[in-house]
């Protein structure tokens, strides 16, 4: 269990993290989302005592990080896959890390096998691709078999197979009862990977809830209906207070999007008017849509419109 309470971090006058509080529950993958510059990485560094906090506290199972004896065995970390010495081999990178927390060499070989790097473990890290470094970073995070795993952008640089592998790995880790906190910009991947979300903007908490709840709260769902008798269905739906939007020319289109009523109501209405249905689908927006809607006013860096 990770408990973040009132975390505040300032860089001069700039408040990078502002009174941030959230929890990460064991047995679940929690996604950590926020626009660029929202303070995600700073928060993660503050959590493990790399950056000094101005206020607030973070505990792991009730203990502050710096008081944990041999912390690798409690909290597995991947903050940045490029935090390696390029002249050192992957195996030696893990060996010094293992030695720093009294972990034996046997465990190094185990995690190398787990992430599929045994064959390249002797190579110097300057020859590793970003994807290989991500795998090595995950191996380092798992070195101490920790109860808590914190990963910053673990899918960066991974190929599709690697992305699926890391998704399955994180779910597996959570299924073993570990608390998994993962930050990522790949929202489609996050929607598949995470069960809970912590969303921040400009260093402040915007929302903490399940992915499903977050999408439900922050998007509108529509019902797509296609029928030769679409006009009759829509007339009935309007009477129920629905909003109608034709797909294509309303004079000839047999397809429409209905908002404001549930798919069940549209189905029952169709049956009541004796309409033949060729399609009845609930169209829900994605996590990306929900995220963009929620963080629209929280973007630190905004791109210009395409011209």
């Amino acid at each position: 269990m990770i408990e973040v309470a009132g975390l505040t971090k300032r860089f001069g006058r700039h408040v990078a993290v502002d009174n941030l509080s959230f929890n990460v529950t064991p047995g679940r993958v929690t996604g950590f989302l926020g626009p660029n510059g929202s303070g995600k990485s700073t928060t993660l560094r503050c959590m493990v005592n790399l950056d000094h906090v101005d206020a607030g506290a973070v505990t792991f199972g009730g203990e502050v990080y710096r008081s944990i004896h041999r912390p690798i065995s409690s909290v597995g970390l991947l903050l940045d896959a490029s935090y390696v010495h390029p002249a050192r081999s992957g195996r030696n990178h893990l060996r010094w890390l293992a030695a720093s927390n009294g972990i034996g060499r046997g465990r190094v070989e185990e995690v190398l096998a787990l992430v599929g790097l045994v064959d390249v473990a002797h190579k110097r890290l300057k020859n590793y691709s970003l994807g290989m470094k991500q795998r090595l970073g995950l191996a380092a995070a798992l070195l101490g078999d920790p109860a808590t795993v914190i990963l910053d952008e673990p899918a960066n640089g991974l190929d599709p197979e690697g992305i699926r592998w890391i998704r399955d790995m994180l779910r597996y880790l959570a299924s073993e009862g570990r608390a998994v906190l993962v930050s990522s910009h790949q929202l489609s991947e996050m929607s598949l990977m995470a069960e809970d979300l912590v969303v921040i903007g400009r260093g402040r908490l915007i929302d903490q809830c399940s992915v499903h709840e977050f999408v439900r709260r922050n998007t509108t769902s529509q019902v797509r209906v296609r029928s030769p008798q679409v006009g009759e269905i829509l007339r009935q739906a309007r009477m129920l207070g629905a909003t109608i939007e034709y797909v294509g020319d309303s004079a000839v289109s047999d397809t429409a999007l209905i908002s404001g009523v549930s798919i069940e109501v549209v189905g029952e209405t169709s049956a009541k008017v004796g309409a033949v249905l060729h399609e009845l689908t609930e169209v829900t927006e994605s996590l990306e849509d929900a995220f963009l809607a929620v963080t629209a006013t929280e973007q630190e860096y905004r791109s210009g419109g395409a011209s």
């Binding site: 790399l50 944990i68 935090y83 010495h85 050192r88 081999s89 010094w96 890390l97 030695a99 720093s100």
Partner: protein
């Protein structure tokens, strides 16, 4: 602390440039001693004390190379970001820096011991073969004092380098400062003090005083004594290290 020392020992052993610096540090005095032995036109006028003076003088270059090693070993952690992995693994940062200092102390002492005696052996053997007078250490007054003060100088310089590296954090800047401190910075400070009317300012330049204290002090009245010079420089180096540890504790990693 033992875990930190084990981790730092693996770090030192597993980067090729560290080995290259150690090999150069050993090879330089040995090669110089060999060249002097081979090319000196009058080997019969070379005595054991001359060889020891040569070796101890040239070994200062080895000391600077080893100091560069310890600076690079630390500051490359900041440039590559591995210091964050290190401090996350060992949250008590002072343990990491003390482990580096401990490794630096032992490795520096061992490497310089090997260097000193290997260079002496090579130089004296070649000169003996070329007709020099019998090369015996018993003919060299205070050879043990010179040797141990050289080792002390090397160890203190390793702390000095680590302290500067911890404060500066940047590899090129730290190496430049470590190398220029005895060669330029202290000379400039002494010159400025002399111009300001301070007598014998050189005597109080800690790095230079410790270097001078390695050699034969007979006949020199304007230098600190050997123990005083080493204690003085040792205190300065430890002071830098303490400042570095204090700053490092307060800074973000």
């Amino acid at each position: 602390m033992i875990d930190a020392i084990r981790a730092e020992w693996i770090k030192v052993r597993t980067v090729r440039v560290h080995w290259i610096l150690v090999l150069i540090a050993i090879a330089f005095p040995v090669v110089v001693a060999a060249l002097v032995g081979v090319f000196n036109p009058d080997p019969q006028f070379i005595f054991a004390k001359d060889v020891i003076d040569l070796v101890s003088g040239v070994s200062v270059v080895s000391i600077l190379l080893l100091a560069s090693l310890w600076v690079i070993n630390l500051t490359s952690e900041f440039s590559h970001g591995t210091i964050r992995v290190t401090y996350a693994a060992i949250p008590a940062r002072w343990k990491v820096l003390m482990a580096k200092a401990a490794i630096g102390t032992v490795v520096t002492a061992v490497v310089l011991t090997v260097t000193f005696w290997l260079a002496w052996f090579v130089g004296s053997t070649i000169l003996s073969a070329r007709g020099a007078t019998t090369m015996s250490l018993s003919d060299v007054p205070d050879v043990a004092g010179m040797f141990w003060s050289l080792i002390a100088l090397a160890v203190i310089v390793s702390w000095f380098a680590l302290g500067l590296g911890t404060i500066i954090r940047n590899s090129p800047a730290s190496v430049v400062v470590v190398l220029l401190w005895p060669l330029l910075i202290e000379n400039l400070v002494a010159l400025a003090l002399n111009l300001a009317g301070v007598d014998s300012a050189n005597k109080w330049m800690p790095y230079q005083a410790a270097i001078q204290a390695v050699g034969d002090l007979d006949g020199y009245s304007d230098v600190l004594g050997r123990p005083a010079a080493q204690l003085y420089f040792g205190a300065v180096a430890l002071g830098l290290l303490v400042i570095g540890v204090g700053l490092d504790r307060r800074r973000d990693a």
